[in-house]
């Protein structure tokens, strides 16, 4: 057991820290968000050059073969800087989906343009009717001679506004919300029948709402094996959850630092407000919430390739904790800043918004707690039958 960073991990952390320090000052970030792209293509190119875009991909795919720990290191850094580059949407979700879905022979060629920063892809999975459930897919793909016809609607497609290609998840067999029976298709965003509305989210990300109206694609648009996209989807979403949790941990760390600094600087009644014991204890509570999120994120990140039950429990626990402890921390950060915490011109307000809204991506605390409850129910059946065994 050893929790210290390896040399490679430290190097990754340093790289991200440097890029953020150089390019993500508060005003610069505001400028990126206001720009048509909603992020900085220059910074994105640097990410590519520094190899950051290869981190979560397997060696076969030409990647860094980073495990969850490496992904965590990068995402924490992005969270510290409130980076709005489409790392989650393009790299972690679209990229890892392909890494999981394609056969070994195809991976390297396919992922190369993603790693070099040229590709602008997005994974179109969630739908309005499914809320947070990624397997509730009403989008249909109907075989028609050599090709397919896709129809449906996709909600909050991350990086979907800037994507030139979409990876569309459709149901090709089975009933909702089964993980099986799903297939993935390449769709050029300019294909007839594709309509989308891009927008900025309240926490500064970019996403799109996408309507598919009888969109015709060729047979080779199918990615991986028909009906079996669910596995790669879980692979990608798990990594997405780790990235989000780590990003939250990074943002929470800075929110704590900013609040602590403010408590030391801001004076009322002639003394720093940090001298008031009630506020000191609340600052301690904030730090405690940060430690809880850090710990569960670490555990989730290091469990990505392990036992499925443990992985699921740790991922769901981490995301649930981000939703609850993150919200508390962010609300306290605003409260302790007082009026300044309410201002759009205060960076702490943007950290708070990001931390709180992370709960709305890839399943909120309710969604993930429901997963934990289902796992407990399975375990309870075993407990009860174990009891029955002993009684017999």
């Amino acid at each position: 057991m050893d929790f210290s960073y390896s040399d490679e991990q430290r190097m990754l952390a340093d790289l991200v820290t440097r890029v953020v320090a150089d390019h993500y000052a508060f005003d610069a970030r505001e400028g990126y968000i206001a720009s048509p792209e909603g992020h900085s293509p220059d910074v994105w190119a640097q990410f590519a050059e520094l190899g950051l875009l290869a981190v979560p991909f397997s060696e076969t795919a030409g990647g860094f073969d980073g495990g969850g720990a490496e992904l965590m290191v990068v995402a924490e850094g992005l969270g510290r800087g409130l980076v709005v580059e489409p790392y989650l949407g393009r790299i972690v979700l679209a990229g890892c989906f392909l890494d999981g879905a394609l056969d070994d022979a195809a991976k390297a060629d396919t992922l190369e343009p993603l790693i070099t920063g040229e590709a602008r892809w997005a994974l179109a999975v969630h739908e309005p009717a499914g809320r947070y459930d990624p397997y509730w897919i009403e989008t249909t793909a109907v075989k028609d001679g050599q090709g397919w016809h896709l129809s449906g609607r996709k909600a909050t497609v991350l990086a979907g506004d800037s994507a030139d290609h979409l990876i569309v998840i459709a149901r090709t067999s089975g009933d909702n919300p089964a993980q099986s029976g799903l297939s993935a298709f390449w769709v050029d965003a300019d294909t007839a029948g594709v309509r989308r509305t891009g927008y900025t989210t309240i926490d500064g990300q970019r996403a799109a709402e996408i309507w598919l109206d009888d969109v015709a694609v060729d047979a080779d648009a199918l990615i991986g094996v028909e009906d079996e996209a669910g596995t790669a989807l879980e692979y990608a979403l798990d990594r997405g959850v780790v990235a989000l949790c780590a990003e939250a941990a990074g943002a929470m760390e800075i929110a704590c630092d900013l609040t602590l600094d403010y408590l030391k600087e801001r004076k009322q009644f002639g003394v720093p407000i940090g001298s008031f014991q009630a506020l000191q204890h609340r600052m301690v509570d904030m730090r405690m919430n940060l430690e809880k999120v850090r710990s569960l994120t670490l555990w989730a990140a290091c469990s990505l390739d392990g036992d499925a039950t443990e992985r699921r429990q740790r991922l769901a626990s981490a995301k649930t904790m981000v939703g609850t402890a993150g919200r508390k921390l962010a609300e306290e950060a605003i409260q302790l800043f007082g009026g300044m915490g309410m201002m759009d011109e205060s960076s702490v307000a943007h950290y708070a918004k990001r931390i709180i809204m992370i709960d709305h991506y890839l399943g909120d605390a309710n969604f993930h707690k429901d997963r934990l409850l289902r796992m407990l129910a399975e375990e309870s059946v075993a407990l009860a039958s174990g009891k029955a065994d002993r009684a017999a």
């Binding site: 927008y199 009322q268 201002m343």
Partner: protein, 394 residues
Amino acid sequence: MDIEYNEAERVFRDEVRAFIADNLPEETSRRVKAFKSVTPEMMTAWQGALSQKGWLAVNWPVEHGGTGWSPIEKHIFEEECAEAGAPRILPFGLNMVAPVIIKFGTQAQKDYYLPRILNNEDWWAQGYSEPGAGSDLASLKCRAERDGDHYVVNGQKTWTTLGQHANMIFVLVRTNTQVKKQEGISFLLVDMNTPGVTVRPLITLDGEHEVNEVFFDDVRVPADNLVGEENKGWTCAKYLLTFERTGIAGVGISKAALAHLKEIAAGQIVDGKPLIAHPRTAERIVDLEMELMAVEMTNLRTVSAAEAGGVPGAESSFLKIMGTEVRQKISDLYREIAGPQALPFTYLEDEAAACVDDFASPAAPTYFNLRKLSIFGGSNEIQKNIIAKAILGL
């Protein structure tokens, strides 16, 4: 002991309801209930209707045009308006500067300003807080120096709510720097069209322009606009701050909000059944209803004590904390119910708004906006200090 309204109180309530039904435009009510912003015109129209009926100045003495209502009547009126989705009545003229003018003002000030407030001719803003003086209000720095029959004001005020629409502002200024901080403060009325007054918007984290900074650069204010004595402004300030804060618990607002959320949750189908039937959402609703009932009854007890002649003092601090906590929790549930639909920042963007259900657009902005409830109007920490000192004797 009788917790129900008596016959006279019920008659009054029905009269209020009838008035609202006749005078509150449906579109205004709809927007208020759906957490959507209302225009200044909508607010003015509603205040105009109340003014015409003689129901605008609920806290003034009858001789100045007040309603003469008892605490219970005021309570009924405020709760009925809130539950019906009436826009809030701006307090800055009616319930802040007016009581100060009535108590400390000259006859000329009363004759001039009070009718203008009653008739909605002036839109008042507040000039209390400064960047360096929040909870510690008396440490304010904005200066006023006497120059003949004028004061020359220099300095800055902040958190001036809806100051962008106002034509008048009351300000606390420092007129003597040589004495204890509370003793050198004066209370001035300033026409915002005077040269040297600049209003700068402050955008809050929800993207809204609701508050402002107001800068004073050699602003010449007639000495007649001093209320009370020079250097005795702290007395006015404290009077204003401790002035009966009816409706501070916001129970009617919370009731309307929770009713709205229940309708939304009943209409959202998730996993084959309405969201309101999902255990955790249902439990949060039930918890909030319970909390809200507790606030409502605590509020009624305070109102009833006032009716019996009691003077609500630090008790209103309890109500402020309890009421704002419930309102914030309701807004948190609203965000939770909106789910992924809370993400698109649609408050001002029609295109993105088309991507989500109509109910969802204001969810996240409302949640973030209402963080202010526990900060402004005396932060909840300050309220706890007040209770600890005044009620608990700590």
